[in-house]
Symmetry: C2
Subunit: 213 residues, 2 copies
Amino acid sequence: MTQPLADGFTRLAPQTGTHVRLAAGEVLTLLDPTGVQVSDLYCVAADDVDERLSSGRSIDFENGIRFTTGSTLWSNRSRPMLTVVEDSCGTHDFLLTPCSQQTFDILYPDLGGAEHPSCFANLVDALEPHGVRPDDIGTTLNVFMNVWADDTGDLHIDPPPSVAGDRFSVRAEMDLHVGITACSAEKSNGGTCKPIDYLVSPAWRGALPDQTS
Amino acid sequence: MTQPLADGFTRLAPQTGTHVRLAAGEVLTLLDPTGVQVSDLYCVAADDVDERLSSGRSIDFENGIRFTTGSTLWSNRSRPMLTVVEDSCGTHDFLLTPCSQQTFDILYPDLGGAEHPSCFANLVDALEPHGVRPDDIGTTLNVFMNVWADDTGDLHIDPPPSVAGDRFSVRAEMDLHVGITACSAEKSNGGTCKPIDYLVSPAWRGALPDQTS
């Protein structure tokens, strides 16, 4: 599912996910190696998994639905969990839960209910061994996902605007269990599901090594 | 905290909340008796409180951020919890967590950190006796709340457009514990916190319009 790369990054295979343990101060970088690919992110406090990422509190305290460099991602206990320290893309979603089997069943009836890989299942696999109940995996930060509402409030999901090499980095503000994915929904990713690369760095120094893959 | 009214409704005093038990098929009506007043709503399945209201799945499956007559409100297990059967106002929010002590501390520093009534505390009081953990009270449906994002993604909270007598009714699609409030945040309610009236009816006798998206 994961493959080490020469530059220190690790590659997540298409339609997979993994667990990352971050100590406070460490930085997680998500890199889109091909462009046009979403990565879902969810996290819980390492010392108490009932403290978890809250889109509703983040949107409230940040007073907006766009999250980029400088934004704080807050927990359900109103504490900062992550700070965005790098964002070369600028388009991400924090409204939607991760794609799940039911997403495909309900929204894509043309798939006929067939079993389909999903970010939700991949996040369950990544986080359940660390004590996170599936019921508690809520709205994810969907990095590079291109969701927008028109004047009637209807949502539109366009292909991610990310290009090869786009990066999104978050600094942990507490010790965290993080689940990340290479999103499994073809229609959210320009038609094909591609890999995502990630790297954990000891601290944010204002620059990270360039990736060549 | 609650006062029976001659018309069968019960009045929630300003800045309070209560618990309502709904059997599948029963209808809860929220009525704004004065206009310009928000009521937050949260619910869990009565037979397993770990199944709870999910804004992220509702926004995903309903493909929009505006909820009105015909909309379904979904659980974190992708099952319908409530159907909106009546809505004379048309403006509600499903992005924000309920106002909490931290909302006032973080967003309204002019209050100096003073203790303030909040929808979150009122929902905890309403739902914790029924087994709901405070950590599990997530994003609420904020009935009559007027939240909109501008082109930059910044949020604006304007006074609720509800007028005296505006109604919002939901039919339970499963047995539910519901928490409702008369919202405690002056700035979300046109400057003053006012009561909310509610009524539980055995069934919805009207017809739902055809839903077109």
